[in-house]
């Protein structure tokens, strides 16, 4: 049984800050099929198209019939823990700092045998539920959970390495003026975040929903205008060492594409707010987060972006906005690579039109801000990297995977 983790104490400045280390990173190209699955929280294995056999580790030919037709498919997660081992003195620096470390060999009901990290409540000879997770090097690993719920399950030491659970962590939500920002604050607080800092530009100017934030225990309103380089830097100077999770809720939505607008002033605003705002935040907070990636219970753990799913394929009705989101998506991959040495994950939430004022002319289905907030929390708890929130986002994902050209035509309506 897991002992619940305790709230971190005030840090002793004389003690060594544990510096981030990465578990082994190299993988074969084929093995990144697991990375793709883990990013979305799916459990996939290779399956032979010819004979139906499942295979693991990643192969180039089926060990049952030598067919090359091995495809990654969603696979049954149930298996049996055959044997376990506890590494006390691993040679790898990452594991040595976290030893003892428990792994096991799991025989999946669908056939293959998988070496997996073990949740502490897994028992030899008992069934387990397998998932694929991204470890601190950003690569996929197999993780075995007990089949049912156990007390304080999410507090497992090895599981917490695979996730960015808000519990006891300090979070910066960058825009408290938006409904999404306010819902995110509430959801993160409910998920056990110790402090939620809420960025508000010109906080003396009143705004709707203000009383949800002001004077609440564990919620601190801070001055932040992400589009202003100095504002971001000033805030980072103040709380930069205390941000364990950053949720970038910057929103700047305006309708229109290219020809129906005159000049570049709106496009410039879109870029200033979304893209340059992202850069300002990254430059202000990124370095400290990367440095604190292994710093105890409340180490820095994740950066969350909320992006329009039209970052993936342009929606001409909001064409310039889509382009600003595409720029942010591209930048998020750069940030992911740069935060990776710190073990800090970058999670992108893709949403369709949100039920807010700037999408008022768009017919349903629209995504409720609360659904986005809940997705942020569940994504952090599950250690995900990509999430599609709402029916529109999910549909665009599928259509894009099936035929990008068809999607482009379909969005031109």
């Amino acid at each position: 049984m897991i002992e619940p983790i305790k709230p971190p104490r005030r840090k002793n400045p004389l003690l060594r800050t544990r510096l981030p280390a990465s578990p082994p990173r190299p993988r074969s190209r084929t093995s990144h099929g697991f990375t793709r699955a883990a990013a979305e929280g799916r459990f996939m294995l290779q399956r032979c198209e010819a004979c139906g056999a499942f295979a693991y580790p990643a192969r180039e030919a089926c060990p049952s019939c030598l067919s090359s037709g091995l495809t990654f498919v969603d696979a049954p997660r149930r298996g049996m823990l055959l044997s376990e081992a506890t590494a006390r003195v691993p040679s790898d620096v990452y594991f040595r700092e976290r030893a003892p470390w428990r792994i096991g060999l799991v025989r999946m009901d669908c056939g293959p045998t998988i070496v997996a990290h073990l949740h502490a409540d897994c028992v030899e000879g008992a069934p387990v539920r397998m998932s694929l997770q991204l470890d601190k090097s950003g690569q996929a690993v197999a993780f075995a959970h007990p089949e049912g719920e156990t007390p304080n399950m999410a507090d497992d030491k090895q599981w917490r390495e695979m996730t960015a659970d808000p519990k006891f962590r300090r979070v910066l939500v960058t825009n408290g003026r938006s409904v999404i920002g306010q819902e995110a604050v509430a959801a993160l607080k409910a998920a056990g975040a110790r402090t939620v800092f809420v960025g508000v530009a010109e906080p003396w100017r009143p705004f709707a929903g203000e009383k949800l934030l002001r004077g609440q225990d564990g919620i601190e309103i801070v001055t932040l205008d992400a589009a202003d380089e100095k504002s971001a830097a000033d805030l980072a100077a103040d709380i930069g060492g205390k941000v364990d999770i950053l949720v970038n809720t910057t929103e700047y939505v305006r309708p229109g594409g290219l020809l129906d607008r005159r000049g570049t002033s709106i496009a410039r605003d879109e870029i200033d707010q979304a893209y340059l705002g992202f850069i300002n935040l990254a430059q202000a907070f990124g370095l400290a987060m990367r440095m604190r990636g292994a710093d105890g219970i409340n180490n820095s753990a994740a950066w969350v972006n909320i992006l329009s799913v039209y970052a993936l394929s342009n929606w001409p009705a909001f064409g310039a906005y889509s382009a600003s989101q595409a720029a942010c998506l591209s930048l998020s991959h750069c940030l992911r690579a740069e935060l990776r040495p710190g073990g800090v994950r970058v999670m992108n939430l893709f949403t369709g039109p949100v039920d807010t004022e700037w999408f008022q002319t768009v017919p349903p289905p629209k995504v409720a801000p609360r659904a986005i907030a809940q997705a942020i929390v569940s994504g952090l708890k599950g250690g995900l990297e990509e999430m599609y929130v709402g029916d529109v986002a999910e549909e665009i994902r599928q259509r894009l995977a099936a035929n990008p050209k068809a999607l482009e035509r379909e969005l031109d309506r």
Partner: protein, 392 residues
Amino acid sequence: MTNSLRTPYDGVVIAAPVTIPYVRYSIESAQWWIGRALSALVAQAGIKASDIDGLCVSSFTMGTDSGIGLTQHFGLCVRWLDTIPLGGASAVAGLRKAARAVQAHDADIVACVAGDTNHVDSFRLTLENFSRFNQDAVYPYGAGGANASFALIARNYMRTFGVTREDVGRIAVAQRANALRNPHALMKAPLTLEQYLAARPISDPIHLFDCVMPCAGAEAFLVMREDTAASLGLPAARLLSTIERHNAFADDPMQVRGGWAMDIGELYAMAGVKPDDLDVVQTYDDYPVITMMQFEDLGFCKKGEGAEFVRQHDLTIDGDFPHNTSGGQLSAGQAGAAGAYLGLVEGLRQVLGTAGPTQVRNASLALASGFGMINYDRGLASGAAIFAGPSR
């Protein structure tokens, strides 16, 4: 007994057992260690380097070199060449190939050599670059090489067959007693069963004295025809039989047996001997539990009876079942791929009567086995050889 259609190794002999004494760490390269072994082979056999016309090499730490680079490096002109990357099965595999080469007159004198250096970081580098499955599906789990993988196998084996740490410990303790008689063994302090049991855990149930100590060193022998050895006046052992098997029993969910179990009938039938006839046995002891598995799979007892076998026998040099007489890898050290050769070379000295302080009295028939390559969840390669000294 299995009927074998295999050609007997008539007229094939093994000679000139060479061990270059091990050191824990070495600033020298693998090539340096292999060079020392070749030099010692030539000196011991009383031949010139130019008499060697076949070369078989195994090493983990040669970098980008393989056998071909070594021919120029050492000034050898050979007409038969092999590089065998089979870890703990390299010696038996190399012997098999070399034996057929000299038997068919493709070569006359084949030098079989294994050597590895051990820098402070070379063990880790070897692990990192071991294999594709290891890279994808083992190394990311902090296994840090063999310890955790073998811990999974050992734990399952011990639970399945009711084996205790004490049972396994008897093997390690007996080998340490043997090592104390081997001046070149790295382990020089006696080991009691109490000390074995009290050792710190490395990767449960693997504890400190279940682990080999990586080191630098080299081992070698010559393979030739009987007539060649006679004309050189070289004492030699006759090769009676060999087996080799890879990826056996792939459907076993966990490894509880090695490939030997598949071929054991053939091993003894080809040699024309029974397990009881053997005077000395050298198993591949990367972990004592793997040795116990070999006692079963090599036919000394039935599957599941390894613990009882160990309790009933004295495994020391003067005991009723002399085993790993040089101390084995557990007590002499594991010099990389040379670890595969350790038992075969020591067994050769035994049947030639040149083992000195570790000599088993009147030893004339020996078995040496190999095991290796934890590619993913099990050791894939296994092999064994039986050979007889001139007195038999």
